[in-house]
Amino acid sequence: MLVSYQWLKNYVDIEDLSAEDAAERLTRGGVEVDMLHNRTEGVEHVVVGYVEECSPHPEADKLSVCVVDTKSAKRTIVCGASNIRAGQKVVTAEPGAVLPGGIEITTTTLRGQESQGMICSLQELGVEQKLVAKEYQDGIYVLPDDAEVGADAVAEIGLRDTVLELDLTPNRPDCLSMLGVAYEMAALLDRDVIHPDTAHKESAEHASDHVSVQVDVPKDNPFYGVKVVKNIVVGPSPQWMQNRLTAAGIRPISNVVDITNYVLLEYGQPLHAFDLDRLGSSEILVRRAGEGEEMTTLDGETRTLSSEHMVITNGKEPVALAGVMGGASSEVQDDTTAVLLEAAYFQPARVRKASRQTGIRSESSIRFEKGIDSGRVEEAAERAASLLETYAGGEVLQGSVEVDHRPAENKKIETSAGQLNGLLGMNLSEDDMLSIFRRLRLPASAEKGGIKVEVPTRRPDLEREVDLAEEAARLYGYEYIPTTLPSGVTTPGFLTDRQRRERHMRRFLESAGLNEALTYTLTSREHSSRLQLHTLPGKVDVSLPMSEERSTMRTSLLPQLLDTVQYNRNRQINDAALFELGSIFIGEPGGTLTKQPQEKTVLAAAVTGWWDTHLWQGEKKKADFFVIKGILEGLFNELGVASEVAFVRSSQAELHPGRSADIYLNGTYAGFTGQLHPSVEKEWDLKEAYVFQLDMDLILSYDAVSVFYETVPRYPAVTRDIALVVDNDVPAGKVERVIREAGGSLLHDISLFDVYQGENLSAGKKSLAFSLVYLDPDRTLTDEEVSRAHDNVLKRLEEEVSAELRK
């Protein structure tokens, strides 16, 4: 809602407040003023001029040379507007004048003719093109004849004004009108509200002689009323009215249309004027539209309607889409002489449906959708009649034709000072409360220790006690609410085990050198089939995506993590180590969801480029499979599940077949790791990238091995190193397992310290060197005992993996 500060003064006395002050009061009171627009800030030396002479420029067809009297001087001004005539009062920017945007006007020469200033259009004064009345859109603005020559033209037009742009919350549709804002202002300042003048004459003829009204849908349309105004002369509306309309962002059209718009802004009551002679009958019937029924709206579009829509008809055909837009056939035109003025109350939901389905958002539909004041309909109609009489020469016929199904009584809320104080933690007296309700013009009375408040139709947002608490608090001031701490039971705050383990996990990955990334959940269809943890039964698509790039919920964190790596590579950052913890979304087969999709917490990482470098000492190491595996092993250790994890060669098609592994937790599939398949690397323009993705719901639900102290050894350990020669295809992991099993309880630790292939070994063989540590926590081991255990290890190695000791 755009509120002209000058206009607002008509309804509430705020002479003592600047526009800025008024805005501040409204904002502090809960009606937020988002912005202030000074309509002509900095515009100077623009005066009313009288065009004494106007003759064609000798050198240019489209220019005129005018002599303009500006009281201080007679100036010769070259003007390019086609509507310039001698005898007009025009907006004259004298040399030295400043126009919006800081444009300075000087004396110039145009085609050999000196021009001492400029004759201005409204656009040149800063009025938006789309808000300028049609007759002035392509030319200069012409002031009324009674404008005083030499006076400030900006003030004369009424552009010395500031517009308050309100950012209204949905509960305050009452402020979609000048009067509503005035009520609010009056409550805040404890002042009176001044209602507009609705007085007009009435002719002997009755409106009911010309029209009858029938409402078939009283639920959708609790009130429908019409007045008839005859002998109208359609023409421009007065300057001040046009100016107020443009301040509110509405373009002036003609006196009849402008008056309906003006009253809409004044009262928040949408009105519609039908051309009585073009209505096609003398009856109005309000009903639901038929399925597929068609009508052409004012904008010239043919609309196909449904039974969800409500229409105003002439008994046969629709003449308006109720509350949204009038029909083209009965539109007021230049030759219109009699109008049927509609003032109705339509239910918000019905109008909203029509507005949504047709895509028409009009000043009218916006107000009906949010809820207008059902008690102000008739007053608004009388106001419009009064204005039509004054500014369109209309003759208002006697009475109105109305169908009224509105509830007879206003809602009442019972409360008490004690209740309201209890909610707010304040200590206001009953009198304080009553005074607040009086300022808000909510009729209230103290009754039997309580307060009874009547809610006028103006404020449909007030429904129950808490709403009154809010009114009391915002008018009294939130700064007077004390600061206390809850007096109830103290309960411990804590993170759950799972939340703590998630944090440990993050900390571990950070200290391993990985940056945490956060990518979007919505992704493209293309991405949603890539690098999935499992083959998923279905995915979750957005019904009306904003773009193909964000059309479906991710099923893997990796595609966007790889996008991130690529994004950085494109900026010459080639080394990346990133992880993300987030959800993937699992749909149902066939694509239709019957219940909320499963959301699985997944951890993913991508590592590429140099991993460990210390260049001036000549060290650099690229990320490889064992880097990412090391991170995973460390992570599993941190999470207390390391002893339950197995890496098994993976068959994931998007990974390098020789450098990838599936990860099992106690026999259950928990994720994968490895180098991306070269074809995948190529797609993302990467070189040797390693990734993992883990099912964290599974891993974090697994009971961690608890930390329990083991005696620090008091007896010496015995270390034996062995170098074994085995076939190339024997995995080191298998050899290690044989050693571990064969070593028995005395084998305390085992570590691989060399892998060798090549010279001195026969083809197809490799050498693995292990260090075995034997220890008994209770005593010193003898050489004999160690040898017995060690021999057993060697024997088993020979039996199970045909290992020979390397000579």
Partner: protein
């Protein structure tokens, strides 16, 4: 003989003086003090001396020996120290060369903010709960006092996945879900961080995906003044003890009264500056007393229980804390951006 000994002593000392290595000293030692050395040689001829002279010569020989020994030790020590000094000098390095980097990744700034806020509320007796990102219309709207035709639904155009399921537009549905698990028995004290989605075009200040933290406190006799107290405690912990808060009336369908909460500007101290748009205050939270309809729909009797709720945008807190000017940075994950939050 005494003269001879004296002379030997002088010679030995001179040789010690000339020696430039431990090895050379060793040969001096062998030469003068060895069993075949000249001093032993002299002492062998003692038989020819008189009774009175013998002890004198013996004494002299001992003195000379002792002196040589002493000087040898002294010189050895000197040479060893010189050798060590030489070695250390050779081992000297340029200590201005850079050290070896200890790898350390950065926490995402949004995670840093969420964890800090969680910790503050845990300290105030709250627990942390989470809920689904794909919500039903019922939990995202209806149970929050936003029935199908409510005009406030316009405020947050959303991504639907079916006619009655959507990507949640707020973390508030977690309120309703959590309250239900309490089966009408308070107190309930929770904070719920999470991702939310709205149909916005991404630009410097809008993001179709962002993070919120929702808070909820339900108990008997909870008053609006308690909301003020808890939020002030939180704001002072997060932004600094010298900050104050201000409540401004606002509207949320699920709270009544509803307020926006401003914190005094930390840059200008309330005097007005560019960051606070010259108002001295910065909007940081939405809050209010839980609407009785919401309590009722989640199984709490609004005649017995009251409560307050609050919500904040994580990106906004991060932007204020770290001076970030474009919300898209959080989701672009430029490594040069992320690296700046290692200490966060």
């Amino acid at each position: 003989m005494i003269d001879r000994l004296q002379e030997l002593g002088r010679e030995a000392l001179e040789e010690i003086k000339q020696a430039d290595s431990v090895k050379a000293l060793e040969s001096v030692r062998v030469k003068y003090l060895g069993k075949k050395g000249p001093i032993t040689e002299v002492l062998r001829g003692m038989g020819q001396l008189s009774e009175e002279e013998r002890p004198k010569v013996g004494q002299k020989a001992n003195d000379v020996r002792e002196e040589i020994k002493e000087k040898l030790e002294e010189k050895t020590e000197q040479l060893e120290k010189a050798a060590i000094d030489e070695k250390l000098k050779a081992e000297s390095i340029d200590i201005t060369l850079p050290g070896r980097e200890v790898k350390q990744g950065a926490r995402h700034p949004l995670t840093a903010v969420v964890e800090e806020i969680e910790d503050i509320f845990v300290g105030l007796g709250f627990q942390v709960t989470k809920g689904p990102e794909v919500e039903t219309d019922q939990y995202n709207f209806e149970k929050l006092n936003l029935p199908a035709e409510h005009p406030a639904r316009d405020m947050q155009d959303s991504f639907y996945v079916t006619t009655d399921m959507l990507l949640r537009t707020q973390t508030s549905p977690v309120q309703a879900r959590t309250m239900e698990t309490f089966e009408g028995q308070g107190p309930v004290k929770i904070v719920c961080p999470g991702k939310v989605y709205r149909r916005d075009d991404d630009d410097a200040t809008h993001s179709h995906q962002f993070m919120q933290i929702e808070g909820l406190y339900v108990d008997k006799n909870v008053q609006m003044s308690d909301l003020k107290g808890v939020l002030e405690a939180f704001v002072q912990k997060y932004f600094g003890a010298d900050r104050s808060i201000r409540l401004r009336p606002s509207f949320f369908p699920f709270t009544e009264p509803s307020v926006e909460v401003d914190v005094s500007c930390g840059i200008c101290g309330g005097k007005g500056c560019r960051v606070c748009k010259y108002s001295g205050w910065i909007e940081v939270l939405g809050a209010g007393m839980i609407h009785p309809n919401v309590l009722e729909m989640s199984g709490f009797d609004p005649e017995i229980y009251t409560g307050f709720a609050f919500g904040m945008g994580v990106e906004r807190f991060a932007m204020l804390k770290y001076g970030i000017d474009d919300i898209r940075h959080f989701y672009t994950n430029d490594i040069r951006f992320l690296n700046q939050f290692k200490r966060a």
